[in-house]
């Protein structure tokens, strides 16, 4: 398999996952906003902070209101991680690996992008938002399913799994970190009861509400939710599960020593964290920072090992 192709399918998977995660997050927050009494102010800007692009946002927008934030997350041409830009980049990566990706998958990818491009206004406005985002999520899942069901599970597919799960782990850590701490504008009158709703919303961002209910048989609380999203071994969108998948994909690739060592280490960090202590001591943020660095290092090692087509010497 060509190094250049490996890089493209890897990024394709990352971008699709990024688009889907962003769509899930906006959906959950949209639904939460509808539930909240008018007296409670939700910070849409918090969503922008989850994606790590808040500086970019500040450069382009004056008001941190719902419309601007949603527009930034979904459609903004200057935001490289907006749903539309992610899908465009994913499509470009599939377009340039069409020789390898099953043609049905290309068609779904192509339609997904065209749909997003043509209907994006539905997502920005309140009325069509839920339907638009649901369709984006569904189409991303269709693509993932098609790849799983029609593409040979060879090295190319391993790079897809690698990209998807690394992106998922990355987004998962961001959710845990910024999520609950910043979504409520700090306001002394914040009534405690809404905390439950907030954690529920974060679970919903990761489609984890139902699974949490089945596996954690207690009322929704911060420690359990963070533990679930970070450490649950069975839930497919938890950080630990995603890293396990990364490890699994890495194991069958050639020359995998460095990335493999890094992912095992990152997974151990995630598993061994004592969540109640971290929350009690306000140490969650620093912990997540370290975990994100781990994830960035894995990406760096992937690129170094397989992607950078260094002018190798022929036999």
């Amino acid at each position: 398999m060509l190094s250049r192709v490996a890089e493209r399918v890897y990024w394709m998977a990352r971008y699709v996952e990024r688009a889907e995660n962003t769509a899930r997050m906006v959906t959950a927050f949209h639904l939460l906003a509808l539930d909240m009494p008018k007296s409670v102010q939700l910070s849409w800007k918090g969503l922008v902070e989850v994606t790590g692009n808040d500086e970019l946002f500040d450069n382009h927008y004056q008001r941190e209101d719902e419309r601007n934030c949603v527009k930034f997350l979904l459609a903004d041409a200057d935001n490289p991680s907006s749903v539309l830009n992610s899908l465009r980049a994913a499509r470009e990566n599939v377009r340039t690996t069409r020789d390898l990706v099953p043609s049905e998958a290309w068609e779904v990818m192509n339609e997904l992008y065209l749909f997003a491009r043509d209907e994006i206004d539905q997502g920005i406005g309140k009325r069509g938002r839920f339907e638009f985002l649901s369709s984006i999520i569904q189409r991303c899942q269709t693509l993932t399913g098609l790849l799983a069901g029609t593409m040979s599970h060879d090295a190319a597919y391993d790079f897809i799994r690698l990209g998807r799960n690394l992106e998922r782990a990355d987004m998962g850590t961001r959710q845990v970190d910024v999520g609950a701490l910043k979504l409520l504008k700090k306001n002394n009158d914040d009534p405690e009861p809404y905390e439950g709703l907030l954690w529920t919303s974060i679970l919903r961002s990761e489609s984890g509400f139902q699974m949490y209910r089945q596996h954690v048989k207690r009322r929704i609380n911060g420690v359990d939710v963070v533990r679930f999203l970070l450490q649950d071994k069975a839930f497919p969108r938890s950080v630990t599960h995603a890293l396990t998948q990364v490890q699994d994909a890495l194991e069958s690739l050639p020359n995998n020593e460095v990335p493999l060592r890094l992912v095992i280490q990152a997974r151990r960090h995630a598993m061994n964290a004592s969540v109640d202590e971290l929350l009690a001591e306000d140490g969650l943020h620093d912990f997540v920072d370290r975990l994100q660095q781990d994830i960035a290092d894995i990406h760096g090692a992937n690129a170094e090992t397989w992607f950078l087509a260094a002018p190798a010497q022929a036999a």
């Binding site: 398999m1 060509l2 069409r98 020789d99 020359n255 190798a312």
Partner: protein, 482 residues
């Protein structure tokens, strides 16, 4: 309201489907009957279905000057063009004959040059050829074949006879659109495939793969074949990736390949370097190898020519194959066929006047208002004079150009290209078209069943290029006996 073929009058041109108003040609009758059974709304809904299929399937071509929007949907007319199998078999024989002779000619040019010594083709033709490559002299590629993939442009005149307009022996494109056009027609008009017996076109990628495998330097079951593309900004990128996908070959760019100290070609993979046996290159000679040709080329692979000359890698088409497809060489192809094969050409050339011959030149200068004048070495319609549409001043300018450099100009009569019914807005109107079949030559020779039909969508226009408002049609070779 449905289509009324009595209202459709292709005069004065030869029409592919309709003999005269109200009288469809026999092989086209099931098609025309079916079309007239549909009302306007149904026709439009098929058109819409075709457009959205093209968008969904991502069938595109690239236009250079459009900034971000680099790929455009492929323009397609839903009404197929129909040719009988009997007629096609004759065309097929003609195309096989032509390419066989051309490959013998190219091999002769790069080796003994017997045809020049025997004065069948004058030597000056070679001297002025832009596509002659000195670096290829003395080489005989496997099977003596230089042009493995040829796209030959055919047109019909007012009587309906096929003529060869030109041979494309370098990197002809369009075959993927031929295949995709059929896919779209199957989606849009599935019921038509029941009433007519239409020859399938799907075999092409398999035949292409087999042909490429037949020029592998290492005879083995699984030769490593790569399609070399200039990259995503090339106008034919869609086709490069399409063919790589259909053949299960690697799609590579120059930077993916490296020539080793052993003069073999390798590609950079996640496992390290892997040897490549055959390269179907879709970049021009000049950019193939910066060590030998254009040193500025970023598209090519340094050392590739070295590897090819040593026989360590197969290249299709071989470098230098283009020597036989310039417009002056074209005029000699009938002679070339007689010389090497001792046969009469099955498919005629369009009559061509070589301005270097005094008699021809006089005729051309006297008849500039009727002729199309072309420079010998340009392609894509650059620097052409279309006599009947030109101003007096333009004709005078060309007269001067011809006298100054007669060798560089040829002239041909303006052809009354055939037409076919084409959906234009809400109406069915006659539009001019041509046909590009593809011929593969390795150990054996294969010709596509039909080819790519290109249509000039503008009324009266003869320009079929997709970049200039041309469209395309599915091309049916119909077996009347079934």
């Amino acid at each position: 309201m449905a289509i009324d073929w009595k209202q459709y009058d292709p005069k004065p041109f030869f029409d592919e489907l309709i003999a005269k108003p109200g009288k469809p040609r026999k092989p086209a009758k099931p098609l025309t009957d079916y079309l007239s059974s549909l009302d306007d709304t149904e026709i439009q809904s098929r058109k819409t279905a075709a457009d959205s299929a093209i968008l969904e399937m991502g069938i595109s071509f690239t236009v250079y000057t459009e900034g971000e929007n680099i790929d455009r949907a492929w323009p397609f007319d839903i009404i197929p063009r129909v040719i009988t199998k009997t007629e096609w078999e004759r065309v097929t024989r003609g195309l096989e004959q032509r390419l066989t002779a051309l490959n013998m000619f190219i091999n002769d040019i790069y080796n003994k040059q017997q045809i020049f010594k025997d004065k069948v083709v004058p030597r000056y033709v070679l001297k002025q050829s832009k596509n002659f490559r000195e670096q290829c002299v003395g080489i005989t590629p496997p099977h003596g074949v230089w042009a493995h993939i040829c796209g030959t442009d055919l047109v019909r005149d007012g009587k309906g006879d096929f003529y060869v307009l030109e041979d494309n022996l370098r990197v002809p494109s369009g075959v993927s659109y031929m295949l995709e056009n059929r896919q779209v027609t199957k989606r849009v008009f599935p019921e038509l495939f029941e009433s007519s017996s239409i020859l399938p076109v799907d075999e092409y990628p398999t035949q292409l793969f087999d042909m490429l495998a037949s020029i592998s330097p290492r005879p083995q079951d699984y030769p490593e074949i790569a399609v070399l593309t200039p990259g995503i900004y090339n106008s034919a990128y869609f086709e490069h990736s399409f063919l790589a996908q259909r053949m299960g070959a690697e799609l590579v760019e120059g930077a993916d390949l490296v020539v080793g100290d052993d003069d073999c070609v390798y590609m950079r993979t996640i496992d390290g370097l892997e040897r490549v046996d055959v390269i179907y290159r879709r970049i021009d000679d000049e950019f193939l190898d910066p060590e030998v040709f254009n040193p500025e080329s970023m598209l090519g692979v340094p050392g590739l020519m070295r590897a090819w000359r040593k026989g360590n890698v197969g290249l299709a088409n071989a470098p230098g194959a283009g020597v036989a497809d310039d417009k002056v060489m074209y005029a000699f192809v009938p002679e070339v066929i007689r010389y090497y094969l001792d046969e009469e050409p099955i498919l005629p050339n369009v009559p061509t006047y070589l301005c270097v011959n005094e008699k021809d030149r006089e005729y051309v200068l006297d008849h500039l208002d009727e002729l199309v004048v072309k420079p010998a070495n340009e392609s894509g319609g650059y620097g052409m004079l279309v006599g009947p549409h030109a101003t007096k001043k333009q004709r005078a300018e060309f007269a001067q150009l011809i006298q100054k450099d007669p060798r560089n100009y040829i002239a041909q009569p303006t052809l009354a290209l055939s037409v076919a019914p084409t959906l234009c807005g809400d109406d069915i109107e006659p539009r001019h078209l041509d046909l590009r079949p593809f011929i593969l030559q390795g150990v054996r020779t294969d010709v596509t069943a039909g080819g790519l039909t290109r249509v000039a969508m503008r009324k009266g226009s003869l320009v079929v290029n997709s970049s200039q408002g041309g469209g395309s049609k599915d091309t049916w070779i119909v077996d009347e006996e079934n």
